[in-house]
Assembly symmetry: C2
Homo-oligomer: 343 residues x 2
DNA sequence: CCAAAACCTGGGAGCGCTCCCAGAACGTCA
DNA sequence: TGACGTTCTGGGAGCGCTCCCAGGTTTTGG
């Protein structure tokens, strides 16, 4: 049923800048100025061009713009794949939504790249090759040298989540420290005295920051900080850590779990041990994923606004690209407590 | 501490094709041939070029290639934002991972676009403007005309999830029908006789296919198909639908929920009504999200391999771009049952 | 009233590559 | 030995745009 004509790809029949110029009765240069919002174009010319553009359905050829101009009108979002995939899913989707929301209206494309083992050099070559104007890095694991490398190469870069090994590279992060501190304080205000924590991995800033915040909150409440177990942001690790904690201190009456996803596992263990939540053990999570509200019992948690993280990263990058000066080297987004049933 | 020199962006100091040519002692044309894997290059020249490339860290300028050549070396992944965001998160991340995995090694960039209300025309203009070689569409809602439009414009397009309003556009989908049928059969094999279903929205193929499959499975087991309620892929809607079902038939002893995320809500309602799962009511979900295994009780569910979906879509698109003929118009990926505790 | 400044416009070089064409080098067969 | 392939190579036009420059047309101000 195919036409059987024209088997090879038909050549691009696209309207070009020149045709718009002809249709509007002006020169290519003027059309270019209008498109790029430059000054020094008469209202009359400007309107004629806009009309011609809509009439012809013209869409500028990005490749040509990039080649001729000095910028690519394109930023990259780089995701390190080696990080915990489990953490990545809702986090990543949220960030992406934020990035996209912030980019809306700007004529900037988003290209997505995931760094794999071994192809780091390719990635760096590509990114530094002038194909993108800037880079957003979601660094899920610890000492990733990528942000440093990119920044050193002079490519505007913003990292999502405090990078452990990239001093000086601008980043945006949730205020994990204060969020965790609030959790500890809240638990103490409830009258809980044997408060444990299930922390994230030691090689991730997010894990360490939440642990530090919890410790600070505990100290302020004059509570001991001995009950610490570690997980890796999976439900299984949360269950195991809870098991360990219960073994070390059967009388514990509260636990701050550094991620909702681990809290799910902890809840299971608690249930298996016949502990009632929150009567026997109060539980506070972190993140406020959708699953927090459907957990049994619904999870009290520290909410971080992941979409806002994406937005802020993008804003910071675009501001830098726009040449703004004295931008903050890092930005911390406030967290908020969401009280449900578990604590 | 900045250098205070060179405030504007430094001009691209990138190695160009010509430099590689000079370094390798050949012409631009030959380097180009090597890069594009064309025949008619002597082994000697080929090796010299490869050496020069690695030595100089050369990375071809995509913009120039696109402009000069006939293809963009770039495909787009388009996501409709109006779809249920809730459904989107893990689904989207999984698809993306698959797409990326399939693209690995190919020199093809992935640009991400989300369609918003009102900017459809812009989107179409852009996509059809020769900036991308093909499009992957994740169509989350029903009658989206986008795939049709793109396909009609001659742009190779593959849809993820059966599109409702785009007859003839190639698509890849999980075998929702057979998966749901298996769920119904399984429930019947357990001896359950009053089996309900919580279906997805009527305007989404995924919802309808799973409902059809359930009906077919029920009919084969000579069971009535009257207990149908609808949700919208949110936990809340699942809870409400379960409530409705229980109101209509307090004696129901099983329910097939067309999405794990809704099953979570259903489980809550069941719990609130004092129904034990699976003793009083058996529950089977669909998707096998990570949360299925941490639900209380752990959810028996129909697993769909979302990453494989992404891979297959990409494979299908790339095959078409490579000029392969007689490709299947659609592809269905098998599902599998994961037995846990809830049924 | 005339010079200077501000505004507006078109022409054209060139971004880095691909791809066509012409031609060189090396056969191979009548 | 020359005519014809086959394999390899370099030259150069041009992809569609931006941006610089030169020049024209207004407005401003002394």
């Amino acid at each position: 049923m195919t036409d059987a004509v024209d088997p090879p790809k038909a050549r691009r029949p696209n309207t070009r800048l020149e045709e718009v110029a002809r249709a509007a009765g002006v020169s290519k240069s003027t059309v270019s100025r209008v498109i790029n919002g430059e000054p020094y174009v008469s209202l009359k010319a400007r309107e004629a061009v806009h009309q011609a553009i809509t009439r012809l359905g013209y869409s500028p050829n990005q490749a040509a713009r990039t080649l001729a101009g000095s910028r690519a009108n394109c930023i990259a979002l780089v995701v390190s794949e080696q990080g915990s995939r489990v953490l990545a899913d809702p986090f990543f989707a949220g960030v992406l939504r934020g990035v996209h929301a912030e980019l809306a209206g700007k004529r900037v494309q988003l290209v997505l790249m995931m760094s794999k083992e071994g192809d780091e050099q390719d990635l760096v070559n590509y990114l530094c090759g002038g194909h993108v104007d800037g880079v957003l890095v979601i660094s899920l694991h610890g000492q990733d040298p990528l942000p440093r490398t990119l920044a050193d190469a002079g490519l505007p870069t913003v990292v999502g989540g405090r990078p452990l090994g990239a001093g000086g590279v601008p980043y945006v992060d949730s205020d994990n420290f204060n969020g965790a501190m609030e959790a500890a304080r809240y638990l103490s205000s409830l009258g809980r005295r044997r408060v444990a924590t299930i922390a994230g991995p030691r090689d991730m800033a997010v894990g360490m920051d939440r642990l530090s915040g919890w410790k600070r909150g505990m100290s302020q409440a004059r509570l001991p900080v001995d009950l610490v177990a570690y997980g890796d942001f999976t439900p299984e690790s949360g269950a195991a850590a809870m098991e360990e904690l219960l073994g070390r201190e059967p009388e514990l009456d509260a636990v701050f779990v550094a991620a909702d996803i681990m809290a799910l596992g902890a809840l299971q263990t608690l249930h298996a041990h016949g502990k009632r939540v929150p009567e026997d053990v109060a539980v506070v999570g972190f993140d406020d994923l959708m699953i927090a509200s459907t957990a049994v019992p619904p999870l009290t948690t520290i909410r971080q606004d992941v979409e806002q993280l994406g937005r802020t990263m993008t804003w910071r990058l675009m501001a830098e690209l726009a040449g703004e000066e004295n931008l903050p080297p890092f930005l911390l987004l406030p967290t908020s407590m969401v009280k449900r049933t578990s604590a």
